[in-house]
């Protein structure tokens, strides 16, 4: 039983076909990487999956409440005028039945899960580092109890070391919260030890899809071959 079904989805911006007949299927517990260069339509696809923009053709079957998204730039994904408590509470907007103390308890629990101290609640986004902000974004997503997390270049804006920490955290959270990931990235090396499956996007199309090992060992499309060669060519 698939948790997300994307069928022949296309999107045009001013006559340009940004996403071109993309189909995807996600089983619970999957960890799918979508790889592609900037402009290949990855973020547009992610936003369509999230229901933030509607596709021009095709359809997407998913439970909207079970999807959450982590954005690329941690500086832009937290409202600079809000403190952490209000930022996190926003994720519980639709959970009207929860009492204030239940909300506080959930927030404390999630903050611990993403490795942040409970005393950050009164602080503001500008007081955090990029990595900490991305942890906050994760905490906010997890509060709404999603089944699928769409991670749109979620670590691309971070330093290499911090990237590693967040990737480790993501692996841990996947286990702890039974999550399914769509990990969108342009970095093949990053997903090698992270994802199970890879879909390669090129000019709005998914040109190749399969298990990580299969794609890395025997890429069939010329673009994927070029991508694998540059990513793992050790004598640059």
């Amino acid at each position: 039983m698939s948790i997300l079904e994307v069928q022949q989805v296309s999107k045009y911006f001013k006559g340009v076909r940004v996403v071109d007949g993309v189909s995807l299927s996600l089983e619970p517990g999957d960890n799918l990487a979508i790889i592609g260069e900037s402009g290949s339509g990855k973020t547009t696809l992610a936003k369509m999956i999230m229901g933030l923009i509607s596709p021009d053709q095709g359809n997407i079957q998913a439970q909207r409440q079970s999807l959450q998204m982590v954005f690329q730039d941690p500086n832009q994904s937290l409202d600079p005028l809000w403190n952490v408590r209000s930022i996190l509470k926003e994720a519980l907007w639709t959970k009207r039945s929860l009492s204030a103390s239940q909300k506080e308890a959930q927030m404390a629990h999630i903050l611990k899960a993403v490795g942040l101290a409970p005393d950050v609640l009164g602080r503001f986004p500008h007081e955090f580092s990029g990595g900490e902000r991305q942890r906050l974004c994760l905490a906010r997503c997890l509060l709404s109890r999603p089944k699928v997390l769409v991670l749109d270049e979620a670590v691309s804006a971070l330093d290499t070391l911090v990237q590693k920490q967040i990737m480790d955290l993501l692996k841990q959270l996947k286990q702890d919260f039974n999550l399914t990931y769509i990990f969108i990235s342009h970095n093949l090396r990053l997903v090698r030890h992270f994802s199970d499956k890879i879909a390669v996007m090129y000019q709005g199309k998914i040109i190749e899809e399969g298990a990580v090992s299969a794609i890395l060992q025997s890429p069939s499309h010329p673009y994927t071959q070029e991508l694998v060669r540059t990513a793992f060519y050790r004598h640059l």
């Binding site: 229901g51 409440q65 730039d73 994904s77 600079p80 005028l81 403190n83 926003e90 907007w93 974004c137």
Partner: protein, 353 residues
């Protein structure tokens, strides 16, 4: 983590920056004094705004005497009598034999002089009314009309601009064409036209409200246009998208995510608009379309100074103009200071990318 660190929002940081701006703080306190005097006009002023005495038309400012024959005494004023000089001009002769003592905390007023004595702190107008009193009663109207007008036009401008920018598309198109209709017409003529549409038999409260509404209707459009432009870019921010994914309603997103981001611009504009509304009210009143005599406003007080003859013989009737100038200047300085304080580029915080 240091527990002693107080976590400040950007608004708190900006207000702290504002407080360090001495010129702005001075203006803030000047305005506070002006508003305080307006609020407590009943107490501060020696007379009510309509207390007239035609025998003292254009009587010059009265000196308050503290010494009598070299001794400190209770403050008093000398009697004045109206005479005419050889050119038939008014001349108020001081009669040093008749004194009227100042009465403090009498009849609910801080200081006043019993009749037949008259105390004109800043001189009298044509009908012998105390200009000092009329200025502070007038301040009630002039200083509040701007704030009220701004409150309405900002509520309109922010909401309409926010909605237009956030939704875009045909909503945006309809609302912006509406704005342009208001912006096309030159402000002062629109004001006159709207005022002409108001029935003439209105009492002063109704006139006051209609002037407020007229001012508000003029101001909202330009603000809405600019807020719309900002909302257009702010709606693409990731935290706005995130809020959508959490199921937060659009109106809540507009009011709590989008509009607060426009604060640096809107705070500054708010102050500048208050001052332009004070001027607009003065403009309306000077041409006789604003608040009507005997209710004073700085604008209609100044309309007494429209002809040159009284200005030559009674220059103090220009004083309301000075207060319009002071109030407008203070609002402008505060507006500029707020813009600087909220601008992250000026105060070295690295929030805006």
């Amino acid at each position: 983590m240091n527990d002693a660190v107080k976590h400040q929002s950007r608004t708190q940081l900006a207000l702290a920056a504002f407080r360090r701006n001495r010129a702005a703080m001075l203006c803030f306190w000047v305005l506070a004094v002006l508003y305080g005097l307006a609020v407590f006009a009943d107490v501060v002023c020696p007379y009510s705004y309509q207390d007239e005495d035609r025998d003292f038309s254009y009587c010059p400012p009265t000196a308050i005497e503290f010494m009598d024959h070299g001794h400190w005494v209770r403050p008093f004023v000398y009697k004045r009598t109206l005479t005419f000089d050889a050119d038939h001009r008014r001349d108020y002769v001081i009669d040093r034999h008749t004194k009227y003592p100042l009465r403090f905390f009498h009849a609910g007023r801080l200081f006043t002089v019993d009749r037949p004595g008259r105390l004109y702190v800043w001189g009298a107008d044509a009908r012998g009314r105390d200009l000092f009193s009329r200025i502070w009663y007038g301040a009630r109207i002039s200083l509040s009309i701007g704030l009220l007008g701004v409150a309405i036009s900002f509520a309109l401008g922010l909401l309409i601009g926010g909605i237009a920018g956030y939704y875009g598309g045909w909503v945006d198109a309809v609302l912006m064409r509406l704005c342009e209709m208001f912006m096309m017409i030159p402000g002062f003529y629109l004001m006159l036209a709207l005022r002409a549409a108001v029935p003439e038999n209105f009492n002063y409260v109704e006139v006051y409200i209609s002037v407020v509404v007229i001012l508000a209707l003029i101001g909202w459009a330009s603000l809405a246009r600019i807020i719309r432009g900002m909302a257009l870019s702010l709606r693409e921010r990731d935290y706005v998208l995130a809020a959508k994914t959490f199921g937060v309603p659009d109106l809540v997103i507009i009011v709590k995510h989008i509009l607060p981001q426009t604060i640096s611009y809107s705070m500054a504009t708010l102050m500048l608009t208050v001052s332009s509304y004070i001027l607009a009210e003065a403009g309306l009143s000077v041409v006789g379309l604003g608040i009507q005599d005997p209710i004073p406003s700085w604008g209609n007080l100044l309309s007494d100074a429209m002809s040159i003859v009284p200005v030559i013989f009674a220059p103090w009737i220009l004083l309301p103009g000075l207060f319009i100038f002071i109030a407008v200047m203070c609002f402008n300085v505060i507006g500029d200071a707020l813009r600087d304080a909220f601008d992250p580029m000026v105060e070295g915080s690295s929030i805006e990318n």
